[in-house]
Each structure stands twice: as C-alpha cells, then as structure tokens.
C-alpha cells in the first residue's frame, strides 16, 4: 500500500493525510452505528421523533472513553510493563540520558520522563497525553544490544511519536476501538431481544429492509473493522515516526541497523502485554504476521514489515548522501 517515498517531508505529509482519513472513518462508523439504532429501534426519521438519541449517545460515549484513557492511560501502561524511572545519577544510564537530551534539543520539545524495563529483549515505547507529559520506556536489552548511534535512532523514533502526537492518537484510537466493541455488543443484544420497531412496519418497504440488513452486518463486523482501522493507524504512525526520527538525527542508517538488531532477537518481550503492542517500536509479541508482506499482513499487523521499514530508511539515507 505504502509507495516509495520521494523524501522525508512528503512522506510525513502523506502519513498525516492517511491518519486523518482513518480518524474520520472512525467517527463516521460510530455515528453510523448510533444512527442505525435510532432509525430501526427508536423510530427516528418517522414523524414526531426528531432527536437522534442513539447517534448522540454513541458519539458521547466514544468521546468520553477517549478522554478517560488520556487521563489515566500512561501510568496504567507503564505499571503493567513493570517500568522503573531512570535514576538521575546512575552512570549505567549516562548514555541513555545524554541521547535523550540530544534528541530533546534536536526536536525543540520538552524532555520526556525516562523509564527502563528490566527485560532482556530489545524494545521501546512512548506514551502520555501530550509532549509535556510524555514518557519514553526502553528495555535493558535495548541498552545492551544497541550502540550509541542506534540508540539515538530509536530514541528519535520515540520522540517523533511524542512530537507528532502519536502517543495521544494511539491512546484515543485504542479507546475508540473499545467503545465500538461495547456499543456493537449492546446493539446485538437489543436486536436479539426483538425490540426492533421500524423493520416490520410497512412504511419502509423493501429499501428499509436492505438498509437494516446492511446495518446488522456492520454491527456484527464492527469489532473487526475497528481493529483493522486501528492497525492501519498504527502502521502509518510507524512509517511516519521512522521518517521524522531520521529527520532529527539525519542518520536513517543507524535506525535501520537498530531495527535489524531488534528484529533478529527472536525472544518476545515478555514484560509488554498485548494491549501495549501497538505502542512499541517493533511488535513485542514476536508474531509472525508483522514480518510478512502482502495483503493479510497489510490489514492485520500492528507494525509494518521490518524489512520494508529498513528498505525505506535506506532509501532516505541514499537521498541524504
């Protein structure tokens, strides 16, 4: 799906557009689920009933869960991964602290809080609601296996997630997926209870029945579709963070070789749970799907194939030279 980029800035622009499209689809999808409920169960659209309660409830519910996840999401994620704050004066983390400071200067953004996860597998993620409250966590394995420049590349990638508001975006998307799942579950239960009013009524006729059928299909597919959308956002964000990370360090090759090292360590990152997978620089679960290309992986992977990311980074390096 993703074509070869012409340069870093064009790729950033393209990725932003794609993300906007996906967000819009999400909102429309939530609205569609709610509107269907209004039309088919509450009789919205027929005379004497002018307020689309279901639509409003669906949108408010989606917004509320997104808001709630922003307020408490970061600490939950860090705790579940067993992340420990990096001490200020420990010489063991001198390089990490320095590299983060370097990237803070390069991006001109506030300094994030630093955490380290005692896990031998190399991985890293960023979280928080905005650049002023951002947290970056890296595993011990990452510090051990990468050299200084590679670590710089990974930190630049994570800082880009922070700077591009990906951390907020991904938290919100995760919450919206949850909201869609809950609402579709509720919708299906209502359907089973047989409180549908509009369908049987002769007013709507054949067209109404077809629409109702489509809506039920959407309801059943909602959890799947929303996850596919979330995965799409996640993958776009990875490409963008690679590109803007390379813009910060002006050294795409270092990030490429870091990705290579992270990829070649076969162990899954045990400390990082499934719900946090989409935040990480590389899939912590070691699932095969993210390593493959082709339609299935394009649709269901949280991360783009590493080989493809490395190829794109090398293409950028070539342009720099």
């Amino acid at each position: 799906m993703a074509k070869l980029p012409r340069n870093i800035y064009e790729q950033q622009a393209a990725n932003r557009r794609n993300t906007l499209v996906v967000m819009t689809l999400f909102v429309l999808f939530l609205g569609f689920l709610g509107l269907g409920f209004d039309v088919f169960f509450l009789g919205f659209g027929s005379e004497g009933f002018g307020i689309p309660i279901g639509t409003i409830v669906a949108l408010i519910f989606g917004g509320w869960s997104a808001y709630w996840s922003l307020e408490s999401g970061a600490s939950t994620v860090l705790t579940s991964a067993g992340a420990i704050p990096v001490p200020d004066n420990d010489p063991k983390y001198q390089v990490l602290r320095n590299v983060v400071e370097e990237m803070t200067i390069a991006s001109g953004s506030p300094k994030p809080s630093l955490y380290v996860i005692p896990d031998p597998d190399p991985n890293a993620f960023a979280t928080g609601k905005d650049p002023d409250h951002a947290c970056i966590a890296v595993t011990e394995g990452l510090l051990e296996k990468l050299d200084r420049e590679e670590l710089q590349g990974v930190i630049a990638h994570e800082m880009s997630h922070v700077r591009n508001y990906d951390i907020r975006m991904m938290t919100v998307v995760a919450a919206l997926v949850g909201a869609v799942m809950l609402l579709s579950e509720f919708g299906r239960r209502s359907g089973r209870l047989g409180i549908a009013r509009g369908v049987g009524s002769s007013k709507r006729g054949k067209g109404g029945a077809v629409l109702f059928f489509l809506w039920i299909i959407a309801l059943i597919l909602a959890p799947l579709v929303s996850q596919i959308l979330a995965m799409a956002v996640s993958r776009q964000r990875e490409y963008l963070a690679d590109a803007s990370g390379a813009e910060l360090t002006r050294n795409p090759r270092a990030l490429a070789s870091a990705l290579q090292k992270i990829d070649s360590s076969v162990e899954p990152t045990r400390s990082i749970k499934k719900g946090t997978a989409h935040l990480c620089i590389a899939d912590p679960l070691g699932r095969n799907i993210n390593g493959k290309e082709g339609f299935f992986a394009e649709v269901f992977g949280t991360h783009p194939p590493i080989s493809k990311r490395i190829m794109l980074l090398h293409a950028m390096a070539y342009q720099h030279a």
Partner: protein, 188 residues
C-alpha cells in the same frame, strides 16, 4: 454611507493583518534568540569539560603534547569568540582539534580503559552532538524567520518595524571543513 462602512471594514482588516504579521515576526525572533541560547549553553559546557579532559589524559598521552596544546588553544580562542559567525568559525576549529585528540587516544589502551576518561569522553561526545543538534534546530528556525521577513507582503511589515535577518550558524572557511587526517600506518 455604505461606501464609508466598507472603507472602515477594509481598514480594520488591514490593521488586524498587520498586527498578526508583526506578532508572528516577534514570536519567530524570540524563538531564534532562544535557539541561539541553547547552542550557547552547550558551547559553554564544552568549554568547561575540555580542561578537565586534557588534565586527565595528559599523563597517558605524553607524546601528544602538541595535540593537547592545540585543543587548549582552540578552546581559549572559542571562549573569546563574539557573534554567530565568529563563534561558528572558532568552534569549528575546536571540533577539529577534539576529534583529532579522540582519534589519537585510540593508540592508548590504558587510557581507553580508564573509567573516568570514558565518562568524560561520553560527556564530550554528547555535548558535541548537542551542539550540532542545537545548531540544526537554530538554523531551521532562523531560516523560517528570514523567509518570513523576505516574502511578499511580509517584507513590508519587516521593513516598517526594522526586523533584521538572522545569521546562520555555519562553517564558512573550507579549511575548517577538513576532516582531521590520521596516520594509520603501522610503523612506530
């Protein structure tokens, strides 16, 4: 009457536009100044670290007194630099002298094993990086500031309130771009 109101509204729009342009330029100018301060902080840090490093390595590298002397000289020259262009030139010389010192230190295994030297070297490497990233950021924002002053119609406002384009932090002299040459031949 209608013409009069139209005129008033037009004047109002123009005034609002001038205010917006002016504020934009002031914001950018402050960002440029802040960007320069960021470079300055890192340059000072480097100036403070160098005497420390030179004193630590002096005992190990007795055969490289000339190189150490050059580093000290370049450092002292850089401390007394004034203005963006002058600082850029002198810091460039200092960077060259330092990287030559680091390259030579590879010949001294006991020096490289010293924990103190390792930490100092990491601090200096990081400071070097910070300087170049701060410079990168400064040049980006200064370019933005300069463009805002030069494009039409922003240039009218810039002239009216006498904004001046900012200098970029760049190495101008070709000699300073030279990569320090290191002799890798095996003869002693």
């Amino acid at each position: 009457m209608e013409l009069f109101f139209g005129f008033i509204i037009l004047i109002g729009i123009i005034i609002l536009w001038v205010i917006a342009q002016y504020n934009n330029l002031v914001t950018l100018r402050n960002q440029v100044q802040n960007g320069w301060k960021q470079i300055d902080v890192q340059l000072k840090r480097r100036h403070d670290l160098i005497p420390n490093l030179v004193n630590t390595v002096r005992g190990y590298m007795e055969f490289e007194q000339e190189t150490l002397e050059k580093v000290i000289q370049a450092r002292n020259a850089a401390v007394s630099a004034t203005g963006v262009a002058d600082a850029a030139a002198k810091e460039g010389v200092l960077s060259g002298a330092l990287s030559k010192l680091f390259a030579l230190s590879e010949n001294y295994p006991t020096l490289k094993a010293n924990e103190n030297v390792k930490q100092l070297q990491e601090e200096l490497t990081s400071t070097e990086n910070k300087i170049s990233f701060a410079r990168q950021f400064f040049n980006d924002i200064a370019t933005k500031f300069n463009i805002a002053q030069q494009v039409f119609p922003g240039n009218i406002i810039a002239n009216m309130f006498s904004f001046h384009p900012s200098e970029l932090f760049e190495v101008k002299d070709a000699a300073e771009r030279e990569v320090p040459s290191v002799n890798l031949s095996l003869k002693k």
